[in-house]
Amino acid sequence: METEKALELAESLMKDFAISTNRPEANRVDFVIDRKNLKPAVDAILVNKHWGYLSAITALDNALWKVDETTKEKSIDPSGGSLELLYHFCQAAAVATLRVSIPYNDPKVDSICGLISSVSLYEREAAELYGIEFVGAPNTDKLLLPDNWPAGVYPMRKAFTSLEDSAKG
C-alpha cells in the first residue's frame, strides 16, 4: 500500500516534466523526461520533497542494429539509436526512474552535482564509460579507466569491441 502511495506521489511530482509515464513492475515507475528538464525534475523529486534517495545512475547504449541479408552478420546502424541515462530513486520498496535520452552527436546533459554532491562518482562513471559529458560537473578526472586510456574511446558503447579495433578506427 505504501509503495503504491509513494509511486503516486512520485507521479504527481513529475507530472510537469514527464513526457510519458510507465509502470514496468509493481514497485516501479519510469518517467521519460527531456534532458533540459533533468535539473528541475531532480530538484522537484529529491531536493524539495526528499522522495527517497538517488540510488544509482544507469547508462545505456540503445544502439540500432542492422542485419546483413546475405552474411547474416549484425552490425550497428549509425543512422539511429541513442544513449540513455536512468536516474534511479529508491524509497523503501518503491523505485522511480527518470529516463533521459541523449543523442550520439551531442552527448551532453546537465550535471546534478550542484543538487547532490555525492552524485559525482556516478556521473564520472557514465562519462568515462559511455562518453556522456556532464555539463557543470566539478570534477572530470579519470575515475575508473587507466591514465593512458586513449581519449574518445568509450568501452561500454556497443560499438566498442577492443582497443585494437578502436585504434584502427
Binding site: 514497485n27 555525492s118 579519470k142
Partner: protein, 393 residues
Amino acid sequence: MEPKTAPEKFIVPIGPQHPALKEPGHFEFTVEGEVVTNATARLGFVHRGMEKGAENRTWVQDLYLMERVCGICSHVHALAFSLGVEKLAGVQAPPRAQAIRELVSELERIHSHLLWLGVAAHEGGFDTLFMFSWRDRETVMDLLETISGNRVNYSANVLGGVKIDINEKQADAIRKGMDFLEERTQHYLKVVTEDETFLGRTRNIGVMTYEQADFLGAIGPTGRASGVKRDVRVDSPYTAYSDFPVNLVTHTHGDLEARFIVRIKELYESYRLVRELVDKMPAGELTVKVPRRIPEGEVISRVEAPRGELLYFLKSNGSDKPERVKVRTPSLCNWSSVLVTAVGHNLADMPMILAGIDPCFSCNDRVVTVNRKTDSTQMDWEDLRQYGIEYYK
C-alpha cells in the same frame, strides 16, 4: 622580511595500494595543519570490465562472473543477479531454495561483519580485538565451507534456485557455531562500548548527521548508524525475508562508535535468523527450470549486502545474452558520503573513518606529507596508522 605568500594547499595522497583492506583505491585529502578540508577519490584500479564482459556471455555464464565481483560478499551478487533473471523469466525459486539463499546471505553477513570488526579494530590500534574477531570468524567460514565446499565463492545459487542443501548434521554444526559466536559477540559489544582507549578513537569521530546520511544516500550499517531506516530486507523483502523477517537495527549518534554498535547488534539478528532458518527450513524442491533465452525486458533487483543496498539493473533483448548488466555496489554510495563527512576531521582519524564505512575498497601505499618549506616525508599506510595511534596516546 619574508614576502607574504598565500598559504599553499597540502594534499595528502593515500593509495592506491592498501595492504590492510581488500581492494585498491586512491584518496587525496587536502589538509590545513591537522584538519582535512577536502577529500577526493580515484577508483578503478581493479576495474575489470565485468559489465562489458557480461554482455558477451550467456545468462548462465554471467551468474559465475557476477559471483566474482566481490570476494567478501560473493553470494549477494549471485543472488541479486539470479533474482533479477528469475523476475525477467517469470519464474520463482521454490521456498526451500529461498530459505537456503537467506541462510547463506546471513552466514555471509556474519563473516563480513566479523571481518570488518577485525579490520576496524586494527586501524584503531587494537590488534588483540582484531586477532580475536578473526579467530572467531573462522567458525562461520568453516560452516560456509561445510555447506558449500567453498570459503569465498560459495556458488550456492543457480538460475532458478540453489545447488546446495542442508542436512541435519550440518544444521547441528550451524546451531553450535551460532551459540559460540553469540557468546563471543556479547564480549565484543562490551569491549567496543566500554573500553576507554578504544572509545577515544570512535566516540564522536566521523559523525554523519541523519540529514546528511539521508540526503547523500548513505545505506547499510553506515546509514543505519545515523538513524536512516534503510534495509532492503525490511523495505522490500526478497527470498524468504517475508517469512523469516529481520528486525531493523539503528542508532542515532552517527559516529564510529554507533557504526560498531549497529554492526555488532546486526550480528545478533543474523544469529537469530540463522537458527530460525535451520529449525524451520521448508521442505521441497531446490530448483525450477529457467529458459535459456530470457524474455525481453528490464528489471531492477535490490538486495541487502553486508555493506548496504546492492542494486542490479538487468536488460534483456530476448536472446541468451543480456543487453546490459548494471551493478551498483553499496560501497559506492557510502564513499560519496564519507568523502563529504571527512571534511573537518583530523588526518589521524582518516584510517578509522575510511574503515568505518566498511569499504570494499582500497587504497594506500604512500602518504606524502608536504610541509610549507621544501622538505617532505613519506609515509605508508602502516606509518599513517601508527601516526593515528601515537596521536591519540
